[in-house]
């Protein structure tokens, strides 16, 4: 397997301890602001209802009610775990689907000349510029016309195509030296084989980036499932929206639900962050 060396960070000038300390302080302050909403979500998820709007603000719950809130969550939403599983199925389905369709298309756009190539590429990118709110109703009508409402088909199949993922992978494929593929071509391999055995193995980091972006978008998707499958299979974002009633907003339970729903994403990122950052770097984004 051919692997390109990741760029080492410039170590042309070592920083003094004083500078390192200063940078850490600045970064740390910024990082605190970045994670503050999480901490607040965490602490609210463990507050009893009476403490949610206390003055002065309590940063840590005075009375820890994680378990109570968790029980209340399952009391109000007994199928919450099922929603999480449905979300997971939808996410994996879209990931696999996009991996197939987008890696093929990215390869096609990166390496093959065909009539209308630029136009087709531009048109698919143009789809990114249409706000989803504008096509909610047509999407529903479409899903209904093919009887896909309230099925996993509606949750997975349309989400298996993506202009963004195609763009991301194309940028990465374009950076792979042509010579490597040409050698395989001379050996008589067809494009599918070259994609599978040569191009994809060279794009590991870009694929990791693609995976995190696709997974996080699918995992947090709300409007699409709401419009096409609000009942069954119901995903977790809808489950959380259902916790807020017309006349009751149990913040601690909503935050507990959001926390449960976000945790898998955080764990995934911690596991993938190294690959992800290299992946974006490989996809290059140089012209």
């Amino acid at each position: 397997m051919i692997r390109r060396e990741a760029q080492a960070e410039p170590s042309y000038k070592a920083l003094s301890w004083f500078q390192v300390g200063g940078l850490i302080v600045v970064l740390g302050a910024g990082a605190l602001i970045m994670v503050l909403p999480f901490l607040w979500m965490f602490s609210s998820a463990c507050k009893p209802p009476a403490e949610i709007n206390k003055l002065p603000v309590t940063w840590l719950p005075q009375e820890v009610a994680c378990q109570t809130n968790l029980d209340d969550l399952y009391d109000q939403s007994p199928r919450f775990s099922e929603y999480m599983v449905n979300t997971a199925i939808m996410t994996v389905g879209r990931l696999v689907g996009q991996f197939i369709t987008c890696s093929l298309a990215a390869y096609g756009f990166a390496r093959f000349k065909f009539p209308g190539r630029n136009l087709l590429f531009a048109a698919s990118l143009g789809l990114l510029m249409v706000p989803f709110q504008a096509i909610m109703i047509p999407e529903y009508l479409l899903m209904r016309a093919i009887s896909w409402t309230n099925t996993f088909f509606a949750l997975i199949v349309p989400g298996s195509f993506s202009a963004f993922a195609m763009f991301l992978l194309r940028q990465s494929f374009m950076q792979i030296p042509r010579e490597i593929e040409e050698a395989a071509e001379i050996d008589g391999a067809n494009p599918l084989k070259i994609l599978w055995y040569v191009v994809l193995p060279l794009s590991g980091p870009a694929l990791a980036a693609f995976a995190v972006i696709t997974v996080q978008a699918a995992w947090n998707d709300f409007l699409w499932p709401l419009v096409t499958a609000s009942q069954n299979p119901r995903v977790v974002t809808i489950g959380i929206a259902l916790l807020q009633g017309e006349r009751k907003t149990p913040w601690n339970i909503i935050m507990m639900g959001s926390l449960l729903a976000t945790l898998p994403m955080i764990i995934l990122f911690i596991l993938l962050q190294r690959y992800f950052i290299e992946g974006i770097s490989m996809s290059g984004l140089k012209g």
């Binding site: 009633g245 006349r247 009751k248 907003t249």
Partner: protein, 435 residues
């Protein structure tokens, strides 16, 4: 025991007053009937708790009145319910039965999208006037005929107050004959600026807040009941809003930004944590209040307007509606009839949520009893029906209400200017509707 019978008596008296037709009836107010031909129906709700209770009713209908019928109950989040209903409507098909709210109903009624239930009720010998105009007025056509939604529940508004704080301030608990002036005194006495404690929050949104005060001056809040014009610039509306603004300017009421919103949910959070002594909100807060409040509290009807001498409350009812082109209208009407019947509303009455829309005194008593043995004057909500006022409001321009509140109570705009701005929007909308 005594309290119960008194309650019952008052209730009977009240129902007699409100609905003379019913007084001598011993039969069920609203009977149920067997269905003619079973089929499949879809029922849309926006509340998980209701889904449970109404689900029980539907089960009973299926065993007793319509074996072999199939009903699919679908719950959609409240925040997106109306958007989803419109999305469904775009395909030409509304769900067979769905819960409807008064400000949302006009759009569907005006576009002939809802089924008229009146002929079915007439055929079943049910007089739809038994619900009273506050409950069903907004569910009739612009000409006052037809019935496009049958009440699931009714809600009046009253003042919740913290008894412990009143004790600490050396105040006597308010009674039903208190006046606006008393209210202002209470609010002043209960405010403790240094501790961040406010005396009251009663302006809120269109249902729990300022429209009640406007109603007490004798004006139909927001919009004339015949949907002809904005009433916010009427003398009564100005009087009510000036009174409330006076309390806010004196620091007795927190501005909406500090409450967090114009929603009673946020005011309730303040109330709950002891930073607010009195707030107005509908009966729907009772379950949460019983569950979460850690101090002594009670409920009292709104104070009386010194000029009119009236204590009034807004009345709002959520209803069951059906799509105008439902595939099986007879079956739809049959299930709705059951759901609002004495038998069908039992579960609702017993669930301890909001009061069942069916005015049968037995059911209303059942609802009061559902809260168990309590000192809280739940009766206040039933008393409030006596002189209640339906609210005419359109969801399409509902944000003017909140904007009005923010302008007056947060952004320091004068009542005259804020109401003029609101009326401009409302009247323009009314004009666009009659085009």
């Amino acid at each position: 025991m005594l309290r119960r019978s008194v309650t019952l008596l008052v209730l009977l008296a009240l129902v007699t007053l409100a609905v003379p037709v019913m007084a001598q009836e011993t039969e069920p107010t609203i009977p149920a009937a067997p269905c003619v031909a079973p089929g499949e129906l879809t029922l849309w709700l926006w509340d998980e708790n209701w889904a449970e209770v109404i689900g029980d009713s539907v089960e009973l209908w299926k065993t007793e009145y319509c074996p072999d019928a199939e009903v699919t109950i679908e719950v959609n989040p409240w925040g997106q319910y109306w958007d989803l209903l419109k999305t469904a409507a775009a395909s030409g098909d509304l769900p067979d039965i769905f819960t409807m709210s008064q400000p949302n109903a006009f759009f569907y009624i005006d576009n002939n999208a809802l089924m008229d239930l009146e002929p079915y009720f007439e055929a079943a010998g049910i007089d739809s006037n038994l619900w009273g105009s506050g409950s069903v007025g907004p569910y009739r056509g612009a000409d006052g005929t037809g019935l496009y939604s049958a009440p699931v529940e009714w809600v009046t508004v009253a003042v919740y107050y913290n008894k412990d704080m009143m004790d600490a301030a050396g105040l006597e608990y308010p009674t039903a004959d208190w006046t606006w002036d008393d209210f202002a005194e209470y609010a002043a006495a209960l405010t403790d600026e240094e501790a961040g404690v406010y005396g009251a929050e009663v302006y809120m949104e269109y249902q729990s807040g300022f429209p009640n005060w406007i109603a007490m001056t004798g004006v139909s809040p927001l919009i004339e009941a015949d949907r002809s014009r904005c009433t916010l610039q009427d003398a009564g509306s100005i009087e009510a809003l000036q009174f409330l603004k006076g309390l806010a300017d004196a620091g007795y009421m927190p501005p909406p930004s500090i409450v967090g919103s114009t929603s009673p949910d946020d005011a309730f959070n303040l109330f709950k944590s002891g930073q607010l002594a009195m707030m107005s909100v509908g009966a729907w807060k009772l379950p949460q209040a019983f569950e979460e409040l850690e101090f002594n509290w009670d409920v009292v009807t709104f104070p009386k307007n010194p000029t009119t001498g009236r204590s009034r409350s807004t009345l709002h009812a959520v209803g069951y509606s059906a799509g105008a082109n439902a595939e099986n209208p007879d079956l739809v009407a049959n299930l709705i009839q059951f759901l609002v019947s004495d038998e069908g509303q039992r579960f609702f009455a017993e669930a301890g949520g909001v009061a069942p829309g069916n005015p049968n005194p037995e059911l209303q008593q059942m609802w009061i009893d559902s809260f168990g043995d309590t000192n809280v004057n739940i009766q206040a909500f039933i008393d409030a029906i006596q002189d209640s006022q339906g609210i005419t409001d359109f969801d399409e321009i509902d944000s003017v209400n909140n904007e009005l509140v923010l302008n007056i109570f947060d952004l320091g705009m004068s009542v005259e200017e804020a109401t003029a701005k609101a009326c401009e929007v409302i009247d323009a909308y009314i004009a666009s509707m009659s085009e």
